[in-house]
Amino acid sequence: MEAEQSIADATAVILAGGKSSRMGRPKALLLFDSEPLIVHIVRALTRMFAETIVVAAPGQELPHLRATLVRDEVPHQGPVGGIYYGLRAAKGHFCFVTSCDVAFLNLPLISYLLSQISDCDVVVPYWQERFQPLHAVYRQSVLPLLKEQLDRGELRPIFLYEKVRTRKIDEDEIRHFDPDGLSFLNMNTLEDYESALRRWQPPLSISISVPVPVSCTVELFGVARLLAKTNAVSLSLPRGATLSNVLSALAERLPVLVGRVISPDKSSLFSGYACNINGLDFVRNNSARVHPGDKIFILSADAGG
């Protein structure tokens, strides 16, 4: 019999490949706590798990993450597909699986769920009369059953629960850690997102932290690329850096851009150029904050053609 792994070896799996159709934009990239939501979730989980895996759709764009990236082999097979591909890639024998739209992960609750796995295959919370399959722990041994479900087109995870040893965590147990069930508050619409933003209270820093540099990538297009003779550069900036700091650092790295793309004071772009962050937001304010993993595009301000 193989040695049981300890909880410390468990893997976190984040499913990011959903269609985000009701949101109308990729949920993983919504800004939350001043950073893309996926970055926020990965950061929270890496505090607790030895390994973090993000399961994305083929071709899906994501910021740089401190996680292993796995792609769905067949896109949009629903949560069963994502759980299957994530579990299959995991080094740990069991995985905590969640989605990319949960802003309020509760680490003590997750720790409790993991502690309940020893005699069973799945540990799944039951909140407000619904299973919460995307906030659950799965043992790798359920892989063959998930594969069968995929082959049959049974795309709902709850079909698995009746076939394996499933530990249902009921509301009383949950409330002990998470009285309001915020852990299960996922965001499907812009209204959900806005309401989550209102609810968010940044945790108070309890110790003087060592400044962590912000790494971001600047991608160059058009004239900027031709001048610099490179498509992209990586920059490391102090935490709290702004777009203006990015441009200064870029000017230091690629002086050829100064006077043509970047203004002589090295803190703004010439009027013919524009900046877009992560392909989503055109940023006109140079004091906008830059976040870890951001991709900053420098492009022409005129899209005519």
Binding site: R225, A274, F282, A303
Partner: protein, 607 residues
């Protein structure tokens, strides 16, 4: 009159006679020149319901008040007619020396009706009009026809606009070409071909005067300076091909007939890559300081002009990843006189249908996404109307209607005009602009994408604020297109309407305010719509292809983003409301009176 000659030349090819008419100042004040004047003349000269290929359909060339003033980017002319591709207005612009010469022969508008009994060309030498035999030019490319006619003219200063084989064969998206440039969209070349008119040659020395030459010169100098600043850096130093890599990264590059908004091989065909590997030289229109044109050298050593729209349509839209193939395909389109956007869009439709087993003729030719040989074989077949080319010569909508079945779902057009290279699902303002444009899916008669690419709006989300933006953008374009000023200069104005009003006042001697100009823009746009209504426009014509409303974007930064019918409908309603039109998109009588357009009230308002 300053800024205009106030003269119209009407040539009837049935009789071979030309007649000169005075152009009323009231018309010029109401519509300026270019597209505005052309639209107004189309309304009056085209019999309601005319068949686009009927001899009675007027083919109208117009000049404009700023042409010949030396002002940068203003050497332009408009071609306006009823489009055989859409059945609605076709209003196209082209530029360079032909535009200057059109004004120098002493006219503001040239209206051509009738049909010659054999192939002819028109030669206008100041006040003299000659209809000359052109059977010997049949089958020649526009540039061959141009140089043969120029060598035949009495004056070496003569300028020529001509059609190619596609125009002769009435391919519905044939162009009229001059000096390598094209009046490209909507099939104006096919209408010219239907009149057995191969070319128009011009030679003149009639200068037009401006009311305040020193004042005009001062503004011209200021705009010249501004045209060389950062705001035009893209156009001056890489050209419009720069759009491809950016659009790809932003999930807005239509690929494989709009299956995806990103192209896996975008880097291989990007403007940056072409510039590094194939750049030959930079070129510009007459009177232009920006000089945005880029010529690229292919492996065969030939130079080829390439713009973003051509690059997108013959590249990613057809799944083509080899820049050499794109250059060759672009050369063929120029050679035959074909609109590259509609050519690419129609071929992409054929490729999709072929891959789905719905179009045997395309399958036989081997038309599939990314297959260069079939693409290069199909372009001449379209121009010659041979084999499957005869079907494709009707454009994607007509080809799909002829083919039947589900193929209409894959035809990516609005009102019959193929979509340009701006993905509507990730550019929601542009989606509205494309749906409601009078000439069909058009990126030039409004610049709706501008709002999406500037961060002024959330480009991924539809909302009811877009109607007013699109309407304002259309009116703005109508003024630019009627003065005429190139769109690539638009950002160089600090306050476009007041600066242009001042400029127009100094050119014409009229007292013109920014409010007047805004009103003129709205009037011109409204008349285009009014023409369409007269020719049978119905509310369902303002819509987008079903694919865009049924499929979410599968790749790129905007993955998962969709555009629903309800969202589009909401934006369209906001647009009609902003325009002061009724909820179905018809123009109330009150609005026509308000704009000084009471001309067709009875025909329009009771529909």
């Amino acid at each position: 009159m300053y800024g205009f000659h106030a003269r119209l030349l009407h040539i009837d090819l049935n009789s071979g006679k030309g007649s000169w008419h005075e152009l009323e100042e009231s018309r010029l004040r109401a519509f300026l020149g270019g597209i505005g004047l052309g639209t107004s003349l189309l309304y009056d000269y085209a019999p309601p319901g005319v068949d686009p290929f009927s001899p009675a359909n007027p083919l109208i060339f117009t000049s404009a008040p700023l042409v010949g003033t030396g002002l940068t980017t203003t050497a332009k002319f408009a071609v306006v007619t009823k489009s055989p591709l859409t059945g609605f207005i076709a209003d196209s612009l082209s530029s360079s020396f032909f535009a200057l010469e059109l004004k120098r022969v002493g006219l503001d508008a040239l209206v051509i009706t009738g049909r010659a009994s054999s192939m002819v060309y028109i030669f206008i030498h100041n006040h003299n009009v000659e209809i000359r035999e052109a059977e010997q030019l049949r089958g020649r490319s526009p540039s061959e026809a141009e140089s043969l006619i120029r060598s035949e003219l009495d004056s070496p200063a003569g300028r020529v606009a001509a059609i190619g084989k596609a125009g002769e064969n009435r391919v519905l998206f044939a162009t009229i070409s001059n000096e390598g440039r094209h009046a490209g969209r909507g099939g104006v070349g096919a209408v010219m071909g239907s009149k057995n008119l191969k070319a128009i040659a011009l030679c003149g020395d009639q200068e037009s005067r401006t009311a305040d030459p020193k004042g005009v010169e001062a503004i011209a100098e200021s705009l010249r300076q501004r045209s060389l600043g950062s705001l035009t850096d893209k156009y001056r130093n890489i050209g419009t091909v720069a759009n491809l890599a950016v659009f790809n990264r932003l999930g807005s590059l239509p690929t494989r007939n709009f299956q995806q908004p990103t192209f896996d091989h975008a880097e291989a065909v990007s403007g940056e890559t072409l510039t590094e590997n194939n750049f030959s030289r930079r070129h510009g229109c007459a009177s232009c300081t920006i000089r945005c044109e880029r010529l690229f050298k292919s492996l065969t050593g030939e130079e080829q002009r390439l713009e973003y729209e051509t690059l997108f349509a013959l590249g990613p839209l057809c799944g083509i990843k080899d820049p050499e193939v794109v250059l060759q395909a672009a050369r063929l389109c120029d050679l035959y006189g074909l609109d590259t956007i509609s050519t690419g869009g129609t071929l992409a439709w054929a490729m999709e249908c072929s891959e789905r087993g719905l179009l045997p003729g395309a399958q036989e030719l081997g038309l599939r996404f990314g297959q260069p040989d079939a693409l290069l074989a199909a372009i001449p077949a379209i121009a010659r109307r041979e084999g499957i080319g005869a079907v494709l010569a009707g454009g994607s909508r007509r080809a799909a209607l002829e083919t039947g079945g589900e193929t209409l779902y894959w035809a990516m057009h609005v009102k019959g005009l193929e979509l340009p290279g701006y993905e509507p699902r990730s550019l929601k303002t542009m989606a509205l602009g494309l749906a409601v444009s009078p000439r069909g899916a058009c990126h030039n008669r409004s610049g709706a994408y501008e709002f999406d690419f500037s961060g002024e709006v959330d480009r991924l989300r539809a909302d009811s604020g877009r109607g007013a933006l699109v309407a304002a953008s259309e009116d703005f374009a109508a003024v630019l297109d009627s003065l005429i000023v190139c769109k690539f200069l638009r950002k160089c104005f600090t306050d476009f309407y007041s600066e242009s009003a001042e400029l127009l006042s100094k050119v014409t001697g009229w007292s013109c305010s920014s409010t007047d100009l805004r009103r003129i823009g709205e009037r011109i746009h409204t008349l285009k719509k009014l023409f369409n209504v007269r020719e049978g426009w119905q509310p369902e014509d303002d819509w987008l292809p079903e694919r865009l409303l049924a499929e979410a974007l599968p790749t790129g930064v905007a993955q998962g983003v969709s555009l629903t019918s309800a969202e589009l409908q909401g934006m369209i309603q906001s647009y009609y409301q902003a325009r002061g039109w009724d909820e179905k998109g018809f123009i109330p009588e009150k609005k026509l009176w308000e704009l000084g357009l009471p001309i067709m009230q009875n025909e329009n308002c009771k529909m």
